[in-house]
Assembly symmetry: D2
Homo-oligomer: 378 residues x 4
């Protein structure tokens, strides 16, 4: 019997970047085989793409409903076990729900849904289904992010007092500052992109990283947005003051007008005994600030790292791994969960991360719209 | 006739760090000679210190009032021309006021006064006096900070949309987390240290850097503090959302519980055409983010820098200069002003910087105390 | 007809790190399918490994000769097209030779052979075979290394005058300094590891990078080794002075006693108009030194990069890719060559790189043994 | 009696950069007062310069011989105690010799003399004179270089096996590549600049840093130069293989054609237990490589530093100091020596450093001219 998990793909065809990322990630640890897909709304294109990447075409379905219907007819040991949802955001919820209702495991791109309401419904659905559900907050897959989480859990920096996370990008700049473009692009149309651009797309990653690494939860939020132009209704930039449990305060900063920045996601956590800092664009360096000892620089693959971190490194120290490897680590964790093997809760972000992310996004909007007041997280 | 400006020093004796900084800065460009001083409240110690640093003792006065009285008796061409005020904060105002009233030029350590009210009085006094008044926001003296200011002024990054400044320190950590220490140290006693610790001591530098480099003014502030402990009444950490003129938003972050941080003051300004970033601990690097061109790294002493920047560099590229050189640049600017020579307004921070700093500090406290609401700057 | 190239694997079973690297690299661009292998000298272990990574066991052969014999019986459209040789070094030559003799394409780990003599024989064999042959000098697959090559080719830094390459490692330190270990480990036994440890294993990468990026050839070498201990006969450290064509001089430095270094391969090329610097452990940064303009930092995925560089990047700027992606780029180039598609000569290192590498290694040893004299490359 | 040491200055007038560096350094710790000088060969210009920097003109002499003659007439407690020699290189020897013969202390710019022969004569002269003599290898004054020396002395990295030092510059590039300029500039005329350009001017610094930090001596040298052009007789670039005592090998690399480099002096020392790396352009960072522990970054002013390092830092951690502060540390050490106070031998480079520097320079030339053979240091 083949050992590989039978993977279905929804979306991710053609030149889709997210498609490449997930496909490669699924291959990296020899755990998955793509057996079925709807790569594209156009069936012909879907078939062509399957041929291009050399996936058998017999289970390339014309649409999602057909995929469900046909796969359910197959014996369980042939049926798709887990589906990766890489479609436009508004399809995440209905697809995920139907997959769970039919007992499939799910790997869902972020944002998990377009509203918090949907997220909570999905959470209930998952309770019934009892399957494995992962949301691909990819950055949690980096070995040094995992190391950060484990060190904090082990009390290495002591009681936390301050958190600071940033996600700055500049690539949308030419769109934002062009009146015609900003009026027509789907990303700045709330009907298509959801209620928030900057916080919804990237701020939520910073939020997730804080909760992932500290193990604490954000309790309330005060947020201010910048729309930059009066004719623009989506946030291009925002800063959220946050309060976490145990009397911790912090700040989440996100911007899509940070000209020249690429994916400058960085996170700093300061505790009573030390600090930890990490930057996404140099993911293989974790800085441990000590007072009164010298700063230390942790790197992947060394024996001083935690098991969770080491499990996410394939080669010895000095061989840089990147974003594909981070996503692969998440797929590896999901594979363990699907097979019922033991795994660390840090190996992949779950439904709870998805739900909290949507809660965060809606609260930032609410806080801003009500005049920058404190809004409580559920 | 000696060319050097006759400098008086108030405070800065013994092991005073600020004393060394100002003294060295005054020497660096051959512009000043210390002719009189009250280095210490104890006259014997003052005299001893004068001998130690080889300053003639005949004009080491027993107290500030005597200094004024005796100096005013001297002919103008022998009298102290400018006094550097390096005393504890609460003495800045009365000393500065009396100096101005008597027609002296003043170089005043930061914070200029302990209240905004005093600052405004001082501002009026200066109008009458018509002398030169500098507040030593030292960081503005770095060549690459000056370059940043000039590039922004020249429109290199276009219309600004986002500012982000941080000042994180950790050295007070052992004090803050020790109940006995935090209850007794003068820095955490509002009667001695003023109404704010974190924002008053370091946040105000971040604020000043934003206004100095952008040429824009902060218009309103929403601030949240963290006192860390219930028995502590001084802010140890705070984040201020800011709104500037021309529809610019940003954030100022300051912390004294950022364990392991030294003087991590950093500033990022994003405009429509590019971004500029600078960090105090690596002061000789200015990062210019360009989209779609490669990042550029500006360094001091190169011909591509502005005159204002080049005037602050003494050696060719590749010879690192530091904080003493930055302060020396401020003293150089003050010397030009005292001599009536032409100088660039960026050469030293003025009364206005001092007044706005106090306005900022009081507004952060007001915003926090009133429940994190927006408070307007004057 | 499946589109994927039929790949055979020799070695790389079990915990082999090089095995993971090649296997993942072959998957990344959807171009290869593993159809046959001898993963391990022990057939049972080979079969077990095949099951573990879910490769069909029907073409897992008991040894290399059987693989050749059986594959040759298959119709050409089922037969393995290309074999990756990941075995111990001494097997590279006989395997590569027999594969070429039978018309297979070959991807060979480095060093291509154990002697220059063998390398030249292989070169002749390839001429007869006319197949595709790649040597996996993996670092040439990094997008910014490719960019460096293209920029130099385009004359961006002008006529080259100075090259400087370094490969420093420290991981062997505990072995080297332990008398018993260094006397027994295969890596320090010339019979098993070849005539050179430091230059043969890592110095040759630095050599290859210089020739790859500059397009120039090293003409003569003067080398000094350090064996560290009298009872050790393998070089642990060495520096080679080099002279290239067109009056260029430089230096290649390699060390296995650089305690604490991981894979610190770095290269600097200085031309009349500018300089270019790159470091393997931060592979996504290419530094362009300009005089009198500011330093520029090139990063992958931006439109300013060359086609060769962009072809090696899968995601937009700011998504770090690493060593697996670099190797995948080499596999991608080989796939194009096998399919007869157009490709850039920089897409994979060839037989010539392998031959020159062996020539270099033997010359460093010859130079050292003859008293650090100049030795000419062929 | 004034406490300050009476300092004489030879050279360093007008726009002299070295003049500023020494003058500021002498001021920084309140130890010196300039009482006499020959700033310039032209007496009028010398007087003008004295007025410009506000030094009394009564002891501004018309030439060096007059300075000696007149100062010797003064009572000892008024006479210049120490002279800083900042003149063109060929004057260093005769001035230093005559100063020593007359019992003055000397601070001499580098290179100490133009030949090794002169250096040895000076060494003998000093033995007779018994005064204090410092050569300003300025980089040894940086706190983190001093820390490196102390850590190595304390055995922190164990027995040394490998040293690697580099000094790369690019500023001469426009001169070198212009046939007319390179034929006329004094720096490329051996009669005026000495026998070596690149090794003599900058390579010798790298050499000095190795001996200063390791406490070991270079024993033999094999060097290759690059003149770049046939019509050029001065080395523009060179690499020296070195062998030190205790079986240590290493390499010194220097270049004046490293386009775009500023003062890229860097040094790496690897021992059995760890490595230490430092770069002149970021002088406040000392990297300690550990295997198997994380890299550590040492910074000035922290309690974990040695006394020698801490004595060279004036402010708490996080206040960057630079090249002026480094030179000031050397002047501070010289002041202690002149006053007969206790001092650490690392506080200033001595005659021995000067002598060894000249020995090194002549040996690099000898090795190159004789066909890149090993030449022994004395």
């Amino acid at each position: 019997m083949p050992k590989k998990i039978r993977l279905g793909i929804l979306g991710g065809g053609g030149d889709s970047l997210i498609g490449v990322l997930h496909r490669v990630a699924s291959f990296i640890n020899d755990n998955y085989e793509i057996v079925g897909a709807v790569f594209n709304p156009d069936h012909e294109q879907s078939l062509d793409f399957a041929k291009e990447i050399d996936v058998p075409t017999n289970r390339i379905y014309k649409d999602f409903d057909t995929l469900i219907a046909e796969e359910m007819k197959l014996p369980e040991n042939e049926r798709i076990q887990v589906c990766s949802i890489l479609t436009p955001n508004f399809l995440h919820f209905p697809m995920a729900k139907k997959l769970l209702d039919n007992g499939f495991h799910v790997i869902c791109e972020k944002p998990m849904t377009t509203t918090y309401e949907e997220a909570k419904i999905l959470q209930e659905t998952l309770k019934e289904a009892g399957t494995v559900f992962a949301v691909t907050h990819t950055y949690t897959g980096y070995p040094m992010v995992r190391q950060m989480r484990e060190m904090i859990k082990d009390g290495v920096i002591g009681k936390i007092h301050k958190v600071d996370a940033q996600y700055y990008q500049g690539w949308m700049n030419p769109i934002i500052h062009d009146k015609e473009k900003r009026g027509t692009v789907w990303r700045l149309d709330p009907k298509k992109a959801g209620i928030s651009s900057c916080m919804g797309d990237i701020g939520v990653h910073a939020f997730n990283m804080i909760e992932f690494t500290t193990g604490l939860q954000v309790q309330s939020i005060l947020c201010d947005f910048n729309y930059i132009y009066d004719d623009n209704v989506m946030d291009m930039d925002g800063t959220a003051l946050i309060r976490m449990d145990k009397n911790v305060k912090g700040v989440i900063r996100a911007s899509q007008v940070a000209t020249g920045e690429e994916n400058n996601l960085s996170i700093a956590i300061y505790g009573q005994k030390g600090g930890l800092k990490w930057e996404q664009e140099n993911p293989n360096y974790l800085y441990k600030l000590n007072d009164p000892e010298p700063l230390q620089v942790y790197k992947p693959g060394h024996g001083y790292n935690s098991k969770l971190s080491l499990d996410g490194t394939k080669l010895p120290p000095g061989h840089p791994e990147g974003i594909f490897d981070a996503m692969a680590n998440i797929y590896l964790g999901v594979a363990k969960a699907i097979r019922g093997e033991e795994y660390n809760s840090g190996e992949f972000p779950t439904m709870l991360d998805g739900v909290r992310g949507l809660n965060f996004i809606e609260n930032t909007v609410a806080s801003h719209k009500q005049g920058n007041i404190w809004v409580d997280m559920d």
